[in-house]
Assembly symmetry: C2
Homo-oligomer: 356 residues x 2
């Protein structure tokens, strides 16, 4: 099919969009490209008269510097990579929202990749991002990841990283984390205050920093209440609750014990909802038969019945903060003298699931 050209219309619908270039302005005004560039960048070397002339013409033809060309010249890509577990997860999607908001305002693109809690996928993603020549990387390691060499190597080569939520031990860089200890402490305390005595904890993969911190908070709350810590009341889910069967198995084991727990503290979003799913299936009533409090960023937690008591993480703010730190790292000429570790406080939202 041949489409004939009619006054000014592009021949093909799919014809490439040809944006205005420096040379166009240069030709039109009879000035060199260097002068145009300097005028638009407000260089002191250009007279006010010329600047005005150039600016006016540039805005008239709607000139925007080609970012690809600028990036090549500046030896950067103005994009940052993000590695998270999964996009379709309230915590991470809120976090991405925060990341996008600051990245956009500072002129950076965001490349999102998800590990789905798989070490191999994380490895692939990191290589992909490195070969996409991102200027820096925001990473929340997968639950499966126990070896951080892939991160250390790129970091040593000069790729800036910022750790997010799940911290990479030993990586000398900024970190954005959450007060997991306090969150767990308060959550467990809330259950204790309501008279629950045998509180089980369902945790993410045991080797994760966040899991250990949450375990510590849980233990301390029990200790402060004069309750002996019972190891048999703690179970870990390698996939952070993403796989229902894994959660089911863990709960089965907990409830099959001679001295059954009377409440659950769930240390991740998916664990929390999957506990509810389990209880629904087995017709176990919350909170009468089983108290529940858990980490969750769902904005309909209040609509579950019973309404869900949660530890909420300020995901949006955390994303913003992480992106800010990363961009600061990218744009700083000198290495920072010391690294920030921004710890965000938990927000405890007490509803019905934890109240006897």
């Amino acid at each position: 099919m041949i489409i004939f050209k009619r006054e000014g219309a592009p021949i093909f619908q799919s014809m490439k969009y040809e944006a205005a270039k420096l040379k166009d302005i240069s030709k039109a005004l009879g000035l060199s490209a260097s002068t145009i560039s300097r005028a638009l960048n407000d260089s002191y070397e250009i007279s006010e008269k010329t600047k005005i002339l150039v600016r006016e013409y540039a805005s008239k033809i709607n000139y925007r510097p080609n970012p690809v060309a600028v990036n090549l010249r500046e030896k950067r890509s103005r994009s940052i990579g993000v590695i998270i577990a999964e996009i379709a997860n309230s915590f991470f999607s809120q976090m991405i929202n925060g990341v996008e908001s600051v990245a956009k305002s500072k002129g950076y693109n965001v490349i999102i990749t998800q590990s789905l809690e798989s070490y191999n996928l994380e490895l692939n993603n990191l290589n992909f991002l490195a070969s996409s020549s991102v200027d820096g990387c925001l990473i929340s390691v997968s639950t499966e990841t126990e070896n951080f060499d892939h991160i250390f190597q790129l970091h040593k080569k000069g790729l800036p990283f910022v750790c997010f939520d799940r911290i990479v031990e030993g990586l000398k860089t900024h970190k954005v984390s959450f007060d997991n200890y306090k969150g767990a402490y308060e959550a467990t305390g809330e259950l204790l205050n309501n008279g629950f005595k045998r509180i089980a904890m369902l945790g993410n993969a045991g080797h994760l920093s966040i899991t250990q911190e949450r375990l510590s908070g849980y233990k301390k709350a029990l200790e402060d209440a004069g309750i002996l810590f019972d190891k048999s009341l703690v179970r870990y889910c390698m996939h952070g609750g993403m796989i229902y069967d894994e959660v089911k198995q863990a709960i089965d084991q907990l409830l099959r014990q001679r001295k059954k727990p009377d409440a659950f503290f769930a240390a991740s979003d998916k664990l929390t909802t999957n506990i509810i799913r389990y209880c629904n299936n087995r017709k176990i009533h919350i909170p009468d038969e089983l108290g529940l409090i858990g980490f969750s960023n769902l904005d309909i937690a209040d609509l579950l019945s019973p309404s869900l008591s949660v530890i909420r993480q300020p995901a949006f703010e955390m994303g913003k903060s992480a992106a800010e730190l990363l961009i600061k790292l990218i744009e700083s000429k000198r290495p920072p003298v010391d690294f920030e570790n921004k710890v965000f406080p938990p927000e405890l939202l007490i509803r019905k699931s934890s109240v006897k």
Copy 2:
């Protein structure tokens, strides 16, 4: 603080990551850069012997072509823009997941922007994407958008678009949509089958294509059941349910009528959950006092109580499909002879909220 260089370690932590270049291989092997480039791109002009030599050395020093340079040379950015209402929304986050998956596999980056249902933000985002020189754009217009000139203009200039979910009338391009008519028909039918007689519809902004299609399906279902369509049972929410007060007001009006509705059909995700929120606040029991079925992609719809009957949209598949069509459009030399309109079928998940 000065850090002294120790064997091979970078002087600064924030030192730029210097990747291997063509010239490095060129120098090492005593061949020209053109030969290296051609060898790596498997050109017929290069001997097999040389190709092997080059490939081996390239992989040894872990060479990857600098995407920014390639993009400049190829006059493209290998990135696509996405405009959606909001990231932290189950439907859109699942859709993005689909988009990212195909984009990544085809070597494209995805730049996500959200309109938050605001026309002005949509306009800003589109300009931002255009000046980021994206190769194409995936758009689901905001509820506020009634004038599509900003889209038409860029489209006319040659920027490829694919419409997603909310269709831009008159834009001659591929579209990925959902069978809204059928979804609404089946949803309404489900309520009718359960004996509900006065079914109200809560819709998104009235001028949206999706709203009108959903309205048609709703009407047809009533008609087929021999029930007269009553205009006073339909309310629209300009912000698609994002603002609770708007939804509240609409429901108030509906329930204040002399002949109150006995069931609601909610034509968007946020409308659905906000109806539940309203009923919770007013202690209106679902489904006894009010039947409910609505659009939703929440994966915990089954955990609400009563469990929520929903029309589910295959968001992930829709995102994949949209991205595929867009990339096809971008990479095709000639304009397509005709445009595809992929319509995805609804998935009706019947649970308790619609069953009397």
